[in-house]
């Protein structure tokens, strides 16, 4: 069973610069964050890929959480459970629900924010929630002579085809979540994105309304194996509508969403399309209910 298997070298840098330096010298090494998906799905033991491991868990800078009056900033190696505990009173409900729905506490205390965001082939909970919050990520590059740093919106972290947009040698080091008031936030995970990614749908909504008129509506749909979709056209169509929305309006918007999903990719399964439309309709119904109750 273990014939021909080479024990991978493990690099355990203590600073970001050291990590970038090692990554530049060993560009084929696997970036290791919490390791929950690497151990479980992507790199089951014994691994025959002969890739070395660059473990980021000892980099103290990547474990920091800070805040000011405008935003909350966290290092990419912050475990999700710690992020939830620290930010329980200040986190957007859409983000805290996305974290909670990731799995039981044991999994959450091992998996990290950056690991969830930078899964090489799946778009998961935190990316979907951060997308509607229009958050930013800091990317540091080890390839250029002088290590460069840039902040980009979360949607720019992924390419048009849904794959991870990081160029080799780049590491996500920090995530910035802006504080913004909203009247309605929601995160739903339909199906399990880890076990049945071809059937699962992740859905996040962030909406504001004033005097029963929607002033801003953002939503993101993640089809884990494909991409996270945000339809600006549909968001604009919903913005400035009066609440409560009629059943006819909800049905019409749901049909429009179906067309958007259908046009986006042929790989999206019919179960996912149906789940996405039902989640969207349900969210609009919940928004109606909230307005009528207030």
């Amino acid at each position: 069973m273990y014939e021909g298997v080479r024990a991978p070298a493990v690099f355990t840098p203590a600073t970001i610069n050291e990590a970038l330096d090692i990554y530049q010298r060993y560009p084929r090494s696997v970036l290791w964050a919490g390791g929950t998906t690497l151990m479980g799905q992507l790199r089951p033991y014994p691994s025959h890929d002969n890739l070395d491991i660059l473990y980021l868990g000892n980099v103290k800078e990547l474990h920091r959480i800070s805040r000011n009056e405008r935003y909350l900033e966290m290092g990419s190696m912050v475990p999700i459970q710690r992020f939830l505990a620290v930010g329980q009173h200040i986190l957007h409900p859409v983000l805290s629900d996305a974290c909670r729905q990731l799995g039981p506490e044991i999994i959450r205390s091992q998996s990290t924010v950056g690991g969830n965001l930078c899964h090489p082939s799946q778009r998961l909970n935190i990316g979907t929630a951060l997308m509607v919050l229009e958050s930013q990520v800091e990317i540091r590059d080890s390839q250029s002579a002088k290590a460069s740093t840039r902040w980009v919106p979360v949607n720019r972290l992924y390419k048009r085809d849904g794959s991870l947009g990081l160029i080799h040698g780049e590491i996500v080091t920090r995530i910035r979540v802006f504080f913004e008031e909203a009247n309605f936030q929601l995160f739903r995970s339909l199906g399990n994105p880890f076990y049945h990614p071809e059937l699962a749908v992740l859905f996040a909504v962030f909406a504001k309304y004033e005097k029963s008129t929607i002033s801003e509506f953002r939503f993101a749909l993640s089809f884990p194996m494909i991409d996270i979709i945000r339809s600006k056209d549909l968001e604009t169509a919903i913005t400035s509508k009066d609440l409560p929305l009629s059943s006819k309006e909800i049905s019409h918007l749901s049909t429009e969403l179906y067309e958007v999903i259908r046009a986006y990719s042929t790989k999206i399964s019919s179960v996912q399309k149906t789940r996405a439309c039902r989640a969207f309709e349900q969210a609009l119904q919940d928004l109606n209910a909230q307005v009528l109750m207030s």
Binding site: Y2, V5, A7, P8, A9, V10, T12, W32, G35, T36, M39, G40, Q41, R43, P44, Y45, P46, S47, I53, Y55, G57, G103, P104, E105, I106, I107, S109, Q110, Y195
Partner: protein, 161 residues
């Protein structure tokens, strides 16, 4: 790779593959027998061990991460006074987990009642969800954990007085 750690409070050295999962390392290279062979993908929740007092799925922990850490398996835990609270709770309800998940469930219950002296049914079920074995119904599981936490509270009260 040479790894030194504490296994059930005893210092041990392993020379092993750096990315070998802890469940395989313990069952193949130590005398631990309480880790039952499971899914190795973090789904069944039968390979729980305590690493620095925190419960972890040993199939998701690579060998290089345990260097310098304290690992407690069910063998070590069963000798401690903390297990008595859980064993008494099983006996009181005349309900024991199956041999397949006994170790994992006991360690999970210990971690719940160590962190929270009076866990709510929701908290209990949320924490126990990681173990997929259904040998005990949810209602009975809540009862057992509540009883174990009562025994644990009493033990602490006695120690304080």
């Amino acid at each position: 790779m040479k790894i030194s750690c504490l296994l059930n409070s005893k210092p041990v050295d392993f020379t092993t593959y750096s990315d070998k999962p802890l469940n395989l390392l313990l069952s193949e290279e130590s005398e631990v027998t309480s880790i039952t062979p499971g899914c190795s993908k973090g789904r069944c929740g039968n390979c729980i061990v305590l690493i620095d007092e925190k419960p972890r799925l040993s199939c998701l922990v690579p060998a290089f991460q345990i260097s310098g850490k304290s690992i407690q398996t069910f063998e070590g835990f069963a000798k401690s006074k903390w297990f008595t609270d859980i064993r008494r709770a099983y006996e009181k309800h005349a309900m024991h987990p199956c041999p397949y998940c006994y170790a994992a469930k006991s360690l999970l219950i210990h971690s719940i009642i160590s962190d929270n002296t009076d866990p709510s049914p929701e908290e209990i079920l949320q924490a126990m969800k990681i173990n997929s074995c259904t040998c005990i119904s949810e209602d009975h599981l809540v009862e057992i954990v509540k009883t174990a936490s009562m025994f644990r509270r009493r033990r602490r009260r006695v120690r304080r007085s």
